[in-house]
Symmetry: C2
Subunit: 530 residues, 2 copies
């Protein structure tokens, strides 16, 4: 069932000379299937097909695109247990997680299907003509959102389904009419191929143009570089490390024609625990955060890697409780020897920073490729003066900073890099006394949470998953929720265009019955003409 | 009344050592006021004030911001004739143009005032909690657009009012709550100072924080570079040349924290004249286009610099007619000796390209600093094989390309760089036979026009002023119309936030009565809780 080949449009292909295998971190053994890395010829062919497909795909109706997206969801469901088994064998993640992530992926696909079936997402806007206007007549102008062109999506190591092959980036791009070329993640190439096969089946069943989707295997960085630099590629989606995301962003910005790269990158997700919360609910929060820090072995971009509090007995107790709670949790398997290697290196580097004290770690022997959780603590002054302490350690690691006072807490927040999330733990009446802290935190993050944990990203219209750099390369967009489509579209105006040749979204009679902004009024009505 | 000083927040300042004067191209003489270029200290101070002001300004209500914007409009009106005289003395443009542009600038300010007074522009989106959801409860998430932070706006040489000091970029940024630092254009520093004085007066009258606006004089590139590289600057708006815009974009992309630059740059605005239009209306279009090409001495970003037709008698007659019509028009003054110098150089460079034939030019003696209009023509093959012919000549210059056939016309369109506009001149029944041409043109432009001219950009919600690179650095935004605010905002989510501490836009009771997306329904109603 898994061939190890690339999908170049609808065809399986393996003419390249570089091969690789995936790895099972639970068994500590390579998996058996041999994957063929996409060659230059295959990359070129995939892009050419995508560009040709775009000319047709950009004009395909919302109803047909919704059929395509729903059929992808159906075909992913039809993969059944094979998909779950492959996922687990390539990630070391438990079956429940695989099933949950599949559910989320399918939910995303169906959400975008509903969005484009309804059709109002194009933000149609119509300003009718006024030929009697003085001193010059007013022309008829009509605007809607149109797709950018072929989009490249990079699979994410920690979300083989929801942020990879048919994940949020791909679903959003296909929904708006952009063909997608996926650079499959080498750690879960089998999961990728299975999902790609579902997309290709769906494309064939719903008569989408060949090239609307391709899936390219790669073990190194060359395939990604070739894709991002190609003049026919018009946008890039990426979820991963700051180093990787920034490299792609730089490459795209330096092209003769720069293209947008939406990279959702590292984040330490600062959590501010206010004095009354440590005092009254310190124990409770310690338990909850021990769970959040170790969830998925800390391999989430929203993992709480930094906890900021104000020095005192309350915070001291909180650190003690958190340290006691976290060692009660059984370590779990990490995604890959590379990931655990990087975790160990970065953790060790952090632990050698002057002034950092480790308050909890797992001492006992654990299975190979399992991640040992760690809690550390440091003084506010030390943290402020050493930006090495501000960096993310991807894995089950967190650091509690003991600030001298509120002013120092505010200073630390204002000096943090951009983050996906910021959390405030406070007693109900306490928050209103910390408006400066909230304001400073808002400047640094995309989402702010009250009395909760940052892990767990709800897929809903009001979600922002993104934030000031380096949380993402462009804080003006979210990677999660229906508004994530805005990364892949541009507004386009028709001036004085004949009604019968306008797209349905902009015709006088409003055949799609979508909501439009007509002469500055939002309405589903047809225009009073023709 | 004009001091030659910078506005560093509310204070006039001139501690720098570099001075310069503006120039009157009509009299061919320098104007008398001496301008003081902003020093490093003044730039730093302006940015610091902007960052401080942002902490207050970001939370100021829409009603107060609308009062500020309307007051700016009032104060600009109150400048009266002094502004018009200064404008004319610094640009060589006629009084009517100055008055028209002032009207447009005031209209823009009042449009943004209305937008933020009403308040729904924040795109409030609320997903309420569902504590009973299985397997995990759903949290309450609420999203709205928030300002990015201090924005730098570069004044444009060809629009001293509408795209400069209090122009569209500034008005949009102030509307959403971003302080603005203007790098004033050296050619119209006096007009800039007058408008800046109006903004400062309005800021003081409406109690806006000091630093919400600064105006920096500059004669070279250093002030702009310092601004774009400064870590506290969060976005940049620019209208001008490809070289200038790209340099700023590169600088911003290479910062440790990259920031968005919206640069609206060159465009040749291709016009496609279809066979029946040349045959039946060639004479009419020739007259209209002679006017469009020479309007404002061709100094518009939407100037039609390229006309594409299919070889034949119709096109030959059109070229003849256009050439005859254009020489009937009296040349007008260009903005500055530098601009006319560049025009002459680029025109001459173009005219030495192999295969390019000049069919019309002004031979007679004309006034110093006036621009001689030129029509040229070239074969389709020649144009395809020489990208030097694709470049913009900023001024009253246009080139007619004689394509072999429809296929070549399509190929040429697909090989053009990105453009602000594309125009199709056709007889009514003709257009539907050229869907491939329309489709190819759509891929290259931000706005497509039927039987009209690209010059004249209506300020309305449905307008797109922008387009694929290099028309703009990011085709996902427009520089004109109310949606231009989207360049300066980012979405921001509150999770499980206490209702009384939410901004009014997101409170249960919807005190502002704005339109919101609540549990996937657009509504102005309050939430059924609390």
């Amino acid at each position: 069932m898994i061939t190890g080949k690339n999908y170049i449009g609808n065809l399986l292909s393996s003419i390249g000379k570089v091969n690789f295998k995936t790895f099972n971190p639970q068994t500590n053994l390579e998996n058996t299937v041999v994957y063929s890395e996409a060659s230059t010829i295959e990359i070129e062919k995939a892009i050419e097909l995508a560009e040709e497909a775009f000319q047709e795909f950009k004009n395909i109706s919302g109803i047909r695109k919704s059929e395509f997206l729903n059929e992808i969801a159906n075909e992913i469901e039809a993969l059944g247990n094979k998909l779950i088994e492959t996922y687990c064998s390539e990630t070391g993640l438990p079956q429940d997680r695989a099933i949950g992530e599949r559910g989320r992926t399918i939910f995303q696909l169906r959400s975008f299907a509903n969005l484009v079936k309804e059709g109002s997402w194009v933000e149609a806007s119509i300003d009718t003509a006024d030929l009697n206007r003085q001193p010059i007549p007013k022309v008829d102008i009509r605007k809607m959102l149109v797709p950018l062109g072929p989009v490249v999506v990079f699979g994410a190591s920690n979300f083989p389904l929801a942020y990879s092959t048919a994940g949020g980036d791909t679903a959003a791009a296909l929904a708006v009419g952009c063909p997608v070329i996926v650079k499959s993640h080498p750690m879960h190439a089998g999961t990728g191929e299975l999902v790609a096969s579902a997309i290709i089946k769906a494309a064939e069943k719903t008569n989408m143009p060949n090239g609307v989707f391709s899936n390219l295997n790669s073990s190194g960085i060359e395939v990604g570089i070739t894709l991002v630099k190609h003049p026919k590629v018009k946008a890039v989606g990426f979820t991963g490390s700051i180093r990787g995301g920034r490299a792609l962003y730089d490459m795209a910005a330096q092209r003769p024609e720069p293209i947008p790269v939406f990279a959702e990158m590292g984040s330490v997700n600062p959590v501010i625990i206010l004095p009354n919360a440590t005092k009254n609910k310190g124990m409770e929060w310690a338990k909850i955060y021990a769970g959040s820090i170790t969830m998925g072995s800390g391999q989430f971009c929203t993992n709480p890697g930094l906890i900021l509090g104000i020095k005192g007995d309350g915070l001291t107790h909180f650190i003690k409780n958190l340290s006691e709670e976290i060692v009660k949790i059984e370590p779990t398997c990490m995604l890959h020897p590379n990931i655990i290697g990087a975790y160990e290196t970065n953790k060790a580097k952090m632990q050698t920073q002057k002034g950092l004290q480790t308050t909890a770690t797992i001492e006992k022997e654990i299975l190979k490729n399992y991640g040992r959780q760690v809690i550390t603590t440091v003084e506010g002054d030390t943290f402020l003066n050493n930006t090495a302490l501000h960096q993310e350690v991807f894995g089950p690691f967190s650091m509690v900073v003991q600030c001298e006072n509120t002013e120092q807490l505010e200073e630390i927040i204002s000096k943090l890099e951009g983050q996906l999330t910021g959390t405030i733990l406070a007693e109900n009446d306490e928050l209103k006394n910390y408006t400066q802290i909230v304001s400073a935190l808002q400047n640094r993050v995309g989402r702010i949470i009250f009395n909760g944990v940052p892990t767990g990203v709800e897929v809903c219209p009001a979600m922002v998953h993104g934030g000031p750099y380096p949380a993402s390369t462009d804080s003006r967009f979210t990677a999660v929720g229906i508004n994530s489509i805005k990364r892949w579209v541009r507004p386009f105006s028709y001036q004085s265009w004949p009604n019968e040749l306008l797209p349905d979204e902009l015709k006088n009679e409003n055949p799609l019955r979508i909501s439009r902004f007509v002469d500055s009024v939002q309405t589903q009505k047809a225009l009073n003409k023709s």
